[in-house]
Amino acid sequence: MSLLTVSEVFGGYGGADILQGASLTVASDEIVVIIGPNGAGKSTLMKAVFGLVRLRQGSVSLDGTTITNLAPDRMAHHGLAYVPQERNVFVSLSVEENLEMGHFIRRGSPRAAIDRVYGLFPDLAAKRRQAAGSLSGGQRQMVAMGRALMLDPRLILLDEPTAGLSPKYMDVIFDKVREINRTGTAVLMVEQNAKQALKIAHRGYVLQTGRNRVDDTGAALLANPDVAQMFLGA
């Protein structure tokens, strides 16, 4: 049975619906990637899962519990974490304080969780006292992902984690995504770098005008000539 089930959702930012019946599932051990042209509603779908975009119709459920339109500040309590594409760190807080905030809803010391995140991102341990705003783009992305991982979520939503990063950091981030997945967290991500993302993904969805166009395994999508022509620049 799948961990996340999104079925036929409609909704948007108040005007016309951006999401027009999109559906997807993520199993508890999967990396799932959403690709598609600009304006297809990829990020909107992600935000809708996290309660940041109001859904007019359709449903979202996590492990059998309906979480449709639940307030975003409740999502963490259900084991769901979200990393926005932009403004995804507290710039005036130190790296370590950013991580502590990720643990806020839980009583008790965040120490063990912080050490686990430093284990995954050793770069951050060296910069623990620095303001997150002073870091490079790639390191900020690590802080943002680290913050989201503090509660050991069942599913992490990543909105274009490699946008604007140098090729070197892109590879690092994709590696870390695999590592996060190996340690038992399901991953749903939106990516512009479709080719690389599909290589590490178990499955992928191609979204167009707010609904599914193709869904298949990552390898099959890479091999699909239509998809290749449209999104992979082949």
């Binding site: 500040d73 710039v91 304080e97």
Partner: protein
């Protein structure tokens, strides 16, 4: 030299401490709620009058009345937030500004209603200053001035520790930094807002009592503080607590020093123009450096 310190610098530092306590609450509230709390001065007045009741009705000293003033003011601002500001959380800043102005009028009217327009003092008679004879001259220091400075420093350090060492304090800084991310992270924003009101109410009440200890209680006292504390907040960069403390000290000291006969035995500026100084600072800052001396929110 001794006269300069005794009569100008020391009173300037004291006034600066009072401005700093007012401005620090204002700047924290702005950081969290994104609105300029116009009733902040009148919360100071309320604090001063609660202590006045403590002195007159319960026989406490003004210093002993401070916890009472804090308690009443904190409960009051929390109730005001629930009643007037919370329903307007998503309204435009102008609407909130006007509602803050309305609250300010209500508080002042309530004080006039219960206590009349005349004001009063905590302690009758004249207190002689403590005299320190040193090789640089005879310093005359009012004991109350030492208490006020000590109290303000203690409060500022406590606040600093709260903001940098505690979970809730860090969450407050996080929310001021990036409210959307705070919500995504699961930080309970309404609880952070209440905590911010508690700090704003406590610092404003203390500032009010200090001001009244140094001068007198008066229904207009807080209203008169509003301009300098706004200027202090902007000077230090909006949303930055230490900036507000710095801004308050600078303005307080500057206001006293401009009246000092530094050159040729004449005051630089007639004391009547003191208030204009804050206004001038605020206007100049808004024109040339709207984010304050230390980069704050605009």
């Amino acid at each position: 030299m001794a006269d300069f310190v005794s009569f100008y610098l020391m009173p300037g530092v004291v006034l600066g401490c009072i401005y700093a306590l007012g401005a620090v609450g204002l700047t924290l509230l702005f950081g969290i709620l994104r609105f300029a709390h116009f009733a902040h001065g009148d919360v100071m007045t309320v604090g001063a009058y609660v202590a006045f009741v403590g002195v007159v009705s319960f026989g406490l000293t003004a210093y002993q009345s401070i916890p009472l003033a804090i308690l009443v003011s904190v409960l009051l601002v929390m109730a005001i937030d629930r009643t007037f500001y919370r329903p307007l959380r998503r309204a435009s800043p102008i609407v909130l500004l006007i509602s803050g102005f309305g609250v300010a009028l209500m508080l002042r009217a309530a004080i006039l209603f219960f206590f009349g327009p005349d004001g009063g003092v905590y302690e009758q008679g004249i207190r002689r200053p403590m005299i320190f004879a040193t090789e640089w001259g005879r310093f005359r220091i009012q004991e109350r001035h030492l208490w006020i400075i000590g109290g303000a420093v203690a409060l500022a350090l406590t606040l600093h520790l709260f903001l940098t060492r505690t979970r809730l304090g860090k969450a407050m800084r996080a929310m001021s930094d990036n409210p959307d991310l705070a919500r995504i992270t699961g930080i309970p924003t309404e609880r952070v807002i209440l905590a911010t009101w508690a700090i704003g109410g406590a610092t404003a009440a203390t500032a009010g009592v200090f001001l009244a200890i140094d001068t007198q209680v008066n229904p207009m006292m807080g209203m008169n503080m509003l301009l300098p504390i706004f200027a202090a907040m902007i000077l230090g960069g909006v949303g930055r607590p230490w900036g507000a403390v710095f801004g308050g000290l600078v303005l307080g000291i500057a206001e006293e020093l401009v009246a000092a006969p530094i050159w040729g035995g004449q005051p630089l500026l007639s004391p009547a123009y003191k208030v204009g100084l804050s206004f001038a600072v605020m206007v100049l800052l808004l024109i040339f450096r709207p984010t304050g001396l230390f980069k704050g929110q605009s």
